[in-house]
Amino acid sequence: MTAAPFLWLQRTPSEHGEIWLPRGEWRISNAVAIDRALQALALPAATAQPGVILDLSQLEGLDTAGAMLLWQLYDRATEAGIRVDLGAVPEAFASLFTAVGVVHDKPMPRPVRMNPFYARLILLGKATVSVVQDSLCFLSFLGLITLTLWRNTIQPWRLRFTSIIFHVEEIGLKALPIVGLLSFLIGVVISYQGAQQLQQFGADLYVVNLLGVSILREIGVLMTAIIVAGRSGSAFTAQLGTMQVNQETDALRTLGLEPVELLVLPRVIAMVIALPLLAMYANILALLGGAVMCWVQLDISLGPFLRQMQEAIDLWTLWVGLIKAPVFAFVIAVVGCYQGFRVSGSAESVGQLTTRSVVHGIFLVILLDAVFSVLFAWLDI
C-alpha cells in the first residue's frame, strides 16, 4: 500500500475551482492509509479562487471512519480559508455523511491534568478522612450488633437456631479437613526445625516442650483464625455483599425483618462457637504431627513424648491459647459482615470488599494476638 494522495483523493483543476474526488473504499480498514495520505496533502493557497469542490461521486465505500476523515479534510480546508463546496453526494452515502457531519465537531473533553503534588495531597486527605469515617462506621456497626445481641439475650426465642447450626457446619465442620491437614504439617515443621537446633546441644527431648508451648499458646489458635478469616470471613462478605447488590437486604427491611438480627447475629454466634472448637482440634492435630516427627527423627516414642509433655505444660498453657479463640472469632465475623454491608451498587465492589475483609480480619487477629501477649505477660501467666 502506498501513501500516494491520488490513490485516495484525486485532484483535478477546473474553471469552477479545484475538484477533489475521493476514490476507493473509505473504510476503517483503510483509515490509517487515508489519514497518512491526507496529512501529506498540500492544500492550495487560500487566495486561489474560486476554491474547492468536494465531489463524492467516485466513492466506492464509506463508513463512519471514512466520513469522519472527509469531514476532517473539509474542516482543515475551511480553517485554512479555502471555500469548500460540497458536490454530488451519492444517495447511498448521503445519510451517513450528513449524520457524521452533524456530530463530528463535538470532541470528548480531555481528562483534566492536575499538578501531581496537589493530586497526591488530595489523595492523602481523602484517605485520611475515609479512615476516620470507616472507623466510626465500624464502631456504630459494632454498637448495632451489641444492641441486637442484648435484645436477643433477653428474648432468646428470637435467635435463629437453624441458621446458627447451619453456619457452625459451614465454618467448623467443613473446615475440618483443611485445618487438620495444615495443623498437622505445622506440627511436623516445628518439630523438625526444633529438633535440628536442639540436637546440637543434646537437648533432643526439649523439642516436646517447644511443641507444647508454642502450639498450645500461639500457633494452633492463630493458624486456625487465619484460615477461617480467609475461608469464612471472606464468604460472609461475599454473601452479604451479593444480597446487598440484589437488594435482598432492602427487601428484608421492608418486610419488617432486621438484617443484622437475621443475617449477622447467626454468623457471629456460629463463628464464636465454631472457632474455639476448631482451634482445639488444630491443637490436637498439630501435636500429633509433632509426635510423629519426634518418633521418626528423634526416636522419641509416644510414652516418653507424653511424659515430657506433662512436665512441659499445665492446663493454663491450653487456656491461654483457647481463651483468645472467641475474641478472634467475634472480630473475624464482625469484619466480614461489616464489609459485606458496605457493598453498594456494582458487583465489582463485592470483590474489592471481600479482599479488604480478609486483609482487615487477619490484621486485627494478629494485632489482638500481640495485645494478648502483652496482657498475659503483665498478668504473669
Binding site: 476503517i28 480498514s29 483509515a31 463512519t64 445519510s95 463535538k106 470532541p107
Partner: protein, 256 residues
Amino acid sequence: MSEPPVITVSGLITRFGEQVIHQGLDLEVKRGEILGIVGGSGSGKSVLMKELIGLLRPAAGTLRVLGHDPHTQDMREAEALRRRWGVLFQEGALFSALSVAQNILMPMREFTDLSIPLRRDLAAIKVALVGLPPEAADKHPSQLSGGMKKRVGLARALALDPEILFLDEPTAGLDPISANAFDELILSLRRSLGLTVVMITHDLDSLITICDRIAVLVDKRIVTGTVAELAQHGHPWIRDYFNGPRGRAVLARTGS
C-alpha cells in the same frame, strides 16, 4: 432481490440434556432489514442469538452468517467474522473497570492501527451518534443510568462499523420516552450505516414501529411475517400475542 441473505439458519436443533429448545428451526435475514425475534419466556430467543454469534454450539443444523459458519474452527475466519457484527447485550455488558471512552476505544485499539488522536475522534463520533453527551465519555459504567449504559453498549457494538447488529432486548427497562428515542436511534443508524439489525424484544411498540419483519419462536420453530400477516396467523400463541389488549392498542394506534 437477488442478493443472498446475510443470515441463514436451517434445520437448527438445540438440546440442553433432555430438554429440546429448537427442533429443526429455519430462518433467513435479508440485508438491510430489521428483524424482531419474539417468543415466550424460555422459548430459546437468547439461545438462538448466542448460537448466531458463535457463543453456543447447536446440536445440529447449519448456520451461515455473512456466508461464514460462526462456529468455524478456523481461528482467522472466526476472528474476521466477529469483527463484522456488533452485539448489544441486555444490560449493556460494559467493562466495569474501564471508562465509557475506553469501552468504545477497546475494539479499535485491539483491531486497528489507527493513531490515538484519530481513535479518540472516531470514539467521539460514536458517542455523539448514539446520542450521549460528550461529558459522558470519562464516566464509569457504574455512574450511568440504564438507558445510558445501553447507548454506550451500542456505541461499543458500532465501534468497528459492523454490518450486522444484534440487540438483546434493547428497550427493556427503559421508560417510554427513552425507548422511543432508542427505536429512533436504531432506525437512523440503520439508514445511515446501512445496518442489518436482529433484535430480541418484547416491546410491542418497537416491534411494530421499527421491525420490517418479525420472527416468532413457537413450538421450537420459527414463524416469520410482518405484523399484519402474523395478526392473522392461525397459531393460538401468535394470535394471542398480537390480538391481546396490548397488541390491539398498539396496532390501533399505529393504524396497521
